[in-house]
């Protein structure tokens, strides 16, 4: 269970938000909505432990995430607006490296399957640098078919995707939730995702 209490975030001398708190249980989905610059990405980065909040805390199964960092990080998959891909490596290499960095041993066939799941199997052996923006995004998202972590934090996962891929990804998210996973996403698009419980957090600047 993820519990968030009284978060405040300061960027420069501007207060992005304060008193943000919520609980997310197994099978839960949460949308984080708000204008550009309202601090959605900053909130997600705080939840990942990449950014220290000005006030408040984030707790994973009752423990603050900056104490039991390793346990939390093993349960966490984060895809930010940066893809985290190396242009000089192939899609397959990128995927395998990121999976192994997260602690999953993955062989070629499994990795290929996950690329195929989101429709970029043909790009498997191409260096990522030559791919289009949408293809790169899909290679990054292919990690979601490999990871076994319970909490997914996704920053605009649907941006730059075609409608077919949006549906595939939405289905994958639904599957994750039905297995007891949790997802926190920001999105601009209307996408139906099935979850046991859905909540919305609106940040206003």
């Amino acid at each position: 269970m993820l519990m968030v209490q009284g978060l405040a975030c300061l960027r420069g001398d501007r207060l992005l938000f304060k008193n943000v708190g919520f609980e997310l249980n197994a099978g839960g989905l949460m949308y984080v909505l708000g204008e550009n610059g309202s601090g959605k990405s900053s909130l997600l980065r705080i939840l990942c432990g990449l950014l220290k909040p000005e006030e408040g805390g984030v707790f994973w199964n009752g423990k603050p995430i900056d104490l039991d960092t390793d346990i939390y990080q093993a349960d966490l998959t984060y895809i930010g607006h940066l893809n985290g891909l190396k242009d000089d490596l192939t899609a397959l290499e990128n995927l395998q490296i990121s999976a192994r960095l997260a602690g999953n041993q993955v062989d070629d066939a499994v990795a290929l399957n996950s690329l195929a799941a989101i429709g970029v199997a043909r790009c498997a052996n191409l260096p990522v640098g030559v791919l289009s923006q949408g293809q790169k995004r899909r290679v990054a998202l292919a990690r979601l078919w490999l990871t076994r972590s319970q909490l997914w934090i996704l920053d605009e996962p649907f941006a730059a995707l075609d409608t077919a891929s949006v549906d595939v990804l939405a289905a994958r998210l639904g599957e994750h939730m039905s297995n007891g996973g949790m997802t926190i996403i920001t999105t601009h698009q209307e996408v139906t995702i099935h979850a046991q419980s859905t909540q919305t957090l609106r940040l206003s600047a």
Binding site: R45, C48, G49, L50, L51, K52, D70, I71, Q73, A74, L76, Y78, G80, H81, L82, N83, G84, L85, K86, D87, D88, L89, E93, I97, S98, R100, L101, A102, G103
Partner: protein, 222 residues
């Protein structure tokens, strides 16, 4: 668990291999800088061999420094640094792997090339050997300390020059011991003390620098 360390090492070496020209740049820089001095000072053998230890070491220092920007910059812009920070692995260990890769790619070639340049400076064989040893023991410290500077200046405007300002003063002990070792052997003295001190610096920075670099990365990525 610790194989994440190996993955990062392999990945960085693979990336360096696919961008071979970048590696060559460091080496050429070392070559050019150390070839400028005879042109500036004049070709007298006595003068050249007396300035050789200092010149070669300073050139190695600068070559190590100009390559520092690349240590984390690409990872920072493409987002793989974020992924490293939230990986369930000790960050200092991953950082150490990156530093090792950087040294293998930018430091080791300089160590191997140095004796050739030393010949141009009319260094005797003993001194050449000490030169290689001193660089071998000293350049890892340069990469380790440099990594702290590279991490601190990540994404900062004018980071190339800033890194020089931050890192060069911290390089001074290595320069003194390294160049001193070669000079000692030139004068027929033992370089043992110098080399031991270099090794001590390396060990100390091996322990402390990855931790400091990891902390700096967390600060810079925020």
């Amino acid at each position: 668990m610790n194989d994440a360390w190996l993955i990062i090492l392999k990945r960085d070496l693979l990336l360096a291999f696919r961008r071979r020209s970048d590696v060559a740049t460091t080496l050429f820089f070392f070559l050019i800088v150390s070839s400028l001095f005879p042109l500036g000072v004049g070709p007298e053998v006595a003068v050249l061999s007396s300035i050789a230890p200092g010149v070669l070491w300073v050139a190695a220092l600068l070559a190590g420094m100009i390559s520092l920007n690349r240590l984390f910059a690409a990872d920072f812009t493409d987002g793989s640094l974020e992924q490293m920070l939230i990986a369930p692995q000790p960050l200092a260990l991953l950082v150490l792997a990156k530093i090792l890769a950087h040294w293998l790619v930018c430091g080791l070639p300089v160590v191997l090339l140095a004796p050739l340049i030393g010949l141009q400076y009319a260094l005797p064989n003993d001194a050449l050997l000490v030169l290689v040893w001193s660089l071998l023991l000293g350049t890892p410290t340069l990469s380790l300390i440099g990594a702290i500077g590279a991490a601190l200046t990540l994404g900062v405007r004018g980071s190339g020059l800033l890194v020089a300002l931050l890192v060069l003063p911290l390089y001074i002990p290595v320069l003194i011991f390294g160049a001193g070792a070669v000079a000692a052997s030139q004068h027929g003295m033992s370089a043992q003390a110098h080399l031991s001190l270099l090794a001590a610096c390396s060990l100390l920075s091996l322990v402390l620098a990855p931790l400091a670099t990891a902390a700096a990365l967390r600060i810079s990525v925020e």
